[in-house]
């Protein structure tokens, strides 16, 4: 495996290993962070999460679809500083519904089966983030960028 494949692989393993991500949205220039249960596509092009439509994060991303998400493998231990990987992804969020939702929601629920009732509630939105760039941090301060081709 060459260095490029290795980075892609590390990123994929990180995304597939984690259940939660920090989602960043903003409103009127005020950033806002929240926690979401997510799932990522294996090609890293999309990430999905579910949120009630009454939330502040949904209002924010409806007003401006530009979002960032943070996924990391830290375990709240001192060793995180040298061991944990962290990735920031920037992209655009949109609600998916209809056939598309039918198609992708099962993948989401396969990962988070306990959210069945939550995800299927008519008051929740199924949100897809189309990733543009990833920023992978390892060894505490080493940062590599991975830009998804258009």
């Amino acid at each position: 495996m060459d260095k490029t494949d290795k980075i892609h692989q590390e990123l994929k393993e990180l995304l597939l290993s984690q259940n939660l991500a920090v989602l960043s949205t903003h409103r009127d220039g005020q950033p806002y962070a929240s926690l979401v249960a997510f799932v990522a596509a294996v090609d890293l092009k999309h990430l999905f999460f579910v949120t009630p439509k009454t939330t502040r994060k949904f209002a924010n991303l409806s007003a401006d679809c530009r979002v960032a998400m943070l996924i990391n493998s830290s375990q709240n231990q001192v060793a995180d500083f040298h061991q944990a990987l962290s990735a920031t992804v920037t992209g655009r969020a949109e609600e998916v519904s209809g056939d598309e939702k039918e198609k992708y929601l099962p993948f989401y629920l396969a990962r988070h089966p306990y959210l069945q009732d939550f995800a299927k509630s008519p008051t929740c939105a199924f949100v897809r983030v189309t990733a543009q760039s990833y920023y992978l941090v390892k060894n505490f301060q080493n940062v590599m960028e991975l830009h998804i081709s258009k």
Binding site: V78, F140, Q141, E145
Partner: protein
């Protein structure tokens, strides 16, 4: 929690936390072997210390800066130096120190001791750390003992120990260290005994010296040697040593001294004593149920066991070889002193003589056949010196490291590389060249008319006085077009030199004070004041050796460059002949001989970007923040100038960041124009770091693939405090 256990109270369940060495001694003590009064310091204490002070994670962060396999040995040495300094500067927290102090005082009040490592990984049958961790002899007073326990702990992270553990696949996250504190036995004869000769299982071996064992173990004192018959318990041979030195206690420590004459004629052991020592080794073997390597000492007529461990030389040859190689990375002061003599009196004059001899040959009058032979000869001479460079000059650089360790031990500076400031006042050849360049630039700076003349690039219009000065420079240092100093035939072009001079002249002169450490005198005085008497003299000698060693890091390249330039000159001559004849300008004599010779020597590799986008790949990878080693403090931002080949240097602009694979002295004429230096090769004492430090520039070394990942024109920020290079990609990316 029990931080310590006196040897006599040790039980089987303590084995893991007191380490192999401590456990062997304790077991022998219970069995009636005569061992010195011993206190085992458990690995619990080490673990409490590194956890409570935060050192554990600091060490792991340091070791995980980058992939261990991508670190050069020099970088590993740098890591080890920084870690050692953490231990030196971090006291044991009061709440755990109190009990430890009490245990030491109740057992050793008023006595001098030996502080030895006893890592749980050590001395198992599968691996031997013998010699990789440190021991300290003749330590007196509780404060000094506490300090040396920390030094032994730090040796868990020495470069050699790190490499060896990596090789054995041991997990650094789980490494810990127990320590043994023993009353020192001031033996008058000491040695080692192998109950079984690793080369012949029917024999045993005894080695013995006068004085303390340290002299033998370090290799500083040659021992008398007895080969014993294991079955008959008889002496087979005795090989006397040339008895010249012994290791004896001196102040707080030990010292190598000349052996008194009357001892030098007598072997340290008579045959009866040799039998007694061998019996001891055999008893140890019976007790441990495998062949033993026993360190022992006689105090008058009483024989003591200092330590006993399984013989490990019967291990696979490979791993033993590597361990000794790791150990050989460290050279003793004595060894370095003799190396210096050889370098100064023999090797450097030899290089200069070879270079001068080559300079006398007029290549243009040689026949093709003779020119091919001359190239071969020059290639061999160059090759010879390159080998000497690796075998003698590189190891001599340890003079700097040795001094660094002594300096850090006594001064405990916040910056573990403060000692370099004491060395930088050494006049280096490349600095002399840069000064001469700066003087030429200054003439242009003060003479707008001359500047205009040079800008025309028409030599006939340039002031002849100035041309003469430029020629003087070229005669001494070459025209800068050559990748080696003294080379003028690479392009035979003054253009790059004029480019650099104009660029320098367009900006203010670099003040001498901004690039020289003014604190060196103060540091030197402070350092030397830590010693008295003979020790002071030794410190002065060590500093002097370190300065020579530091200077040679620069000068050897310059001298080697001169030899290489003669090889290049012959190659250029051959290439010109081949080209000329190919163009059909003369009736062609055969040039195959030259063509083959050139093909043999022509090798050029281009660095490839390992992250280059491949066909069909749905994403692209770019570096943002690269981690290397902090090698020169400061922070600077500028456009990158990536040096792929030597000629890239002549385009260097004021305010750019020098990015290269490996800086050598033949490249550093652009450093006065640079705002920072980034180098692929890692280490604090490599040339790029040394020259950056001279000019007070931020420097980061050890960035893997630096010249492939960074492109000329990228805006980069060099953080020389943290060893981080941040890249903003605004240069148009070229397809490579």
């Amino acid at each position: 929690m029990n931080w310590t256990i006196p040897a006599i109270e040790v039980s089987d369940k303590d084995r893991k936390r007191i380490g192999g060495k401590g456990f062997a001694l304790a077991s022998m003590s219970r069995q009636g072997f005569n061992i010195p009064d011993t206190l085992c310091v458990t690995s619990n204490l080490y673990n409490a210390y590194v956890t409570r002070t935060g050192l554990r994670e600091r060490i792991l962060l340091e070791l995980h800066r980058k992939d261990f396999k991508e670190m050069r040995w020099e970088e590993i040495w740098d890591c080890a130096t920084r870690i050692r300094n953490m231990f030196l500067r971090m006291p044991i927290p009061a709440e755990i120190e109190a009990g430890f102090r009490e245990a030491i005082e109740s057992q050793f009040r008023g006595k001098s001791v030996v502080v030895r490592s006893s890592a749980p990984d050590e001395d198992t049958a599968a691996s031997s750390f013998a010699g990789l961790h440190e021991s300290y002899l003749n330590i007196r007073g509780t404060d000094a003992i506490l300090e040396h326990v920390r030094k032994v702990w730090a040796s868990l992270w020495s470069d050699a120990a790190l490499l060896y553990r990596q090789e054995l696949g041991l997990d650094v996250e789980k490494s810990s260290m127990a320590v043994v504190i023993q009353e020192i036995i001031i033996g008058d004869r000491s040695g080692v005994a192998f109950s079984e000769n690793p080369n012949d299982s029917s024999q045993g071996v005894i080695e013995s010296v006068y004085g303390l064992n340290q002299g033998l173990v370090d290799g500083a004192v040659e021992p008398d040697r007895w080969i014993m018959d294991r079955r008959k318990r008889k002496i087979i041979t005795h090989t006397p040593a040339k008895r010249e030195y012994w290791m004896i206690p001196f102040e707080n420590g030990v010292q190598l001294s000349a052996l008194p004459d009357k001892m030098s004629t007598e072997p340290p052991l008579n045959s009866k004593e040799a039998y007694t020592v061998f019996d001891l080794a055999m008893k140890a073997e019976d007790f441990f149920k495998n062949p033993q390597d026993v360190e022992w000492t006689f105090r008058e007529k009483t024989l003591f066991v200092l330590q006993s461990r399984p013989i490990t030389t019967t291990l696979s040859k490979k791993s033993e070889d590597n361990r000794s190689w790791y150990l050989s990375l460290h050279r003793s002061f004595e060894n370095l002193k003799s190396l210096r003599k050889k370098i100064e009196e023999e090797l450097i004059p030899g290089m200069i003589a070879d270079a001068n001899q080559l300079a006398e040959i007029d290549l243009t009058i040689l026949s093709d056949h003779d020119l091919a032979a001359e190239i071969k000869k020059r290639w061999e001479i160059n090759h010879k010196w390159v080998n000497i460079y690796w075998e003698e000059f590189i190891p001599f650089a340890h003079g700097v490291r040795l001094f660094g360790q002594v300096y850090n031990d006594v001064m405990r500076p916040e910056d573990p590389y403060e000692f370099v400031d004491l060395l930088t006042r050494t006049e280096m050849a490349s600095l002399g060249r840069n000064q001469m360049l700066e003087d030429l630039a200054n003439i242009i700076r003060n003479d707008p008319g001359l500047k205009k003349q040079i800008e025309t690039r028409d030599h006939s219009k340039i002031d002849q006085n100035f041309i003469r000065k430029v020629e003087e420079f070229i005669e001494k240092f070459g025209d800068l077009t050559c990748a080696v100093t003294g080379g003028t035939q690479c392009d035979r072009d003054n253009e790059p030199l004029f480019n650099i001079l104009l660029e320098m002249a367009a900006h203010p002169r670099i003040a001498a004070s901004s690039r020289k450490s003014t604190t060196a005198d103060v540091l030197q005085e402070k350092f030397l004041n830590c010693f008295e008497g003979d020790r002071k003299q030794q410190a002065v000698e060590m500093l002097d050796l370190a300065r020579t060693s530091y200077q040679l890091r620069d000068d050897d390249n310059i001298y080697l460059g001169r030899i290489e330039s003669h090889l290049l000159a012959a190659l250029v001559e051959a290439r010109q002949r081949v080209e000329y004849r190919k163009a059909g300008k003369v009736a062609a004599p055969r040039t195959e001989e030259l063509v083959d010779m050139l093909a043999d020597l022509d090798h050029r590799s281009k660095e490839l970007n390992p992250y280059e986008k491949k066909p069909g790949q749905a994403y692209e990878i770019k570096p943002r923040q690269l981690i290397g080693q902090p090698a020169g403090p400061g922070i600077s931002k500028g456009k990158a100038r990536v040096i792929q080949q030597h000629s890239d240097l002549s385009n260097f602009k004021h305010g750019e960041v020098l990015v290269c694979d490996a800086v050598d002295p033949n490249m550093t004429f652009v450093v006065p124009l640079a705002v920072a230096v980034v180098e692929r090769r890692g280490g604090m004492l490599i040339h790029g770091a040394i020259i950056a430090r001279e000019y007070g520039l931020p420097c980061v070394t050890g960035i893997p693939d630096a010249t492939a990942l960074i492109q000329t024109g990228d805006d980069i920020t060099v953080d020389g405090y943290l060893g981080i290079v941040t890249i903003a990609h605004n240069a148009p990316r070229k397809d490579r």
